[in-house]
Amino acid sequence: MGRLADPLAMSPSRPGRTRTAPPVMPAEFPAQGRYRSYMLFGACCVFFLLSSLLFLRVVNALATGPEAWDELLREFRHPLYLAYNVAALAGFVFTARRFLFQLFAKTQPPRIGPFPRPPLAVFSPVLGAAWLAATALIFCILWGAFP
């Protein structure tokens, strides 16, 4: 049996005449079966939060001046930062894979204003191509391909 759910879950607004046993959460929740993937998906929001804060720090260093920027680059070479980057990359890829390639297509209603939804089968290849293009673009920028 799962752990207890909120005692008011699925209860009527006025209690019935019969005493009831309290509701329990699904047996596999939170760490077994398909719920594991869902919980991991939710946990990945930590990477989005930390990376947003990191981005603000980068902007702040850029705005402060060259010394602050050099100091930040030195900090980023620390093994802890490198380890964080690897973990964050894994988190972002997992999040993108689950949302963009498994769940996103069916969130699109049959019509958005005057425009009909493209066939569901089109979404994954188009999103995949866009992802590859964006990755290639960023790789080129980091490589210094654009002067």
Partner: protein
Amino acid sequence: MSELQKKTFVITRFDPDKDEVPKTQTYEIPVRPDWKVLDALNFIKDEVDGTLSHRWSCRMAVCGSCGMTVNGEPKLTCKTALSDYGDTLEVGPLSNFPVIRDLVVELEGFMEKFKAVKPWILRAKEKAPEEGVYRQSPEELEAFKQFSMCINCMLCYAACPVVGNEPDYLGPAAIALGHRYNLDSRDEGDVERNQVFREEGGVYSCSYANECSEVCPKNVDPAAAINQAKFLALVDWAKSFVSSPPRRK
């Protein structure tokens, strides 16, 4: 009779007059290989223990009465073959619901959520009978048909992790059915329903576990309906910056 084999059923029991909390009771019974879980429960009820309480009706996955958890997963027991399981099965009431007795859960909370989304056709003004019927093209039907296949079995509620934690949440089936009427070309009640959808406990409570769609025995895909409704809320919000508030269709 050589086809009979023994299986053990660990069934959740709860008597509101005697028990503080649910307990389990074990039954070992002979079963036929073509039996469904519901057949075994009916055998126990008829031949072994007449005090066992469970709901069922049509025996063909249409009425939605016999939803229970089988080995922890919400299932329609009339559609769940015993041959898919090993020698021991655990059968319990649907998760996330208060239990009235044994495998029977309280439905009233579900019915209240259902009524809240007004799952019927709303029109500003009804046509007079002499004006004829409301016509609908196959394309217009296709837009909502999938969401109209729901049989109200409540398996989606039993699988949803949000339902158990947020008592105000409307839940998958109610939102899917409300969305079904919003997509119906004959309906004009989308503004009223969207108000309910966009309140506390509406579509924004869904965190897209997608479990409702995984367990749905009729492939309704309630997660798609909820997140389409969420997406349309976003579109309406964006539109509100450039135009007047949405009106009836």
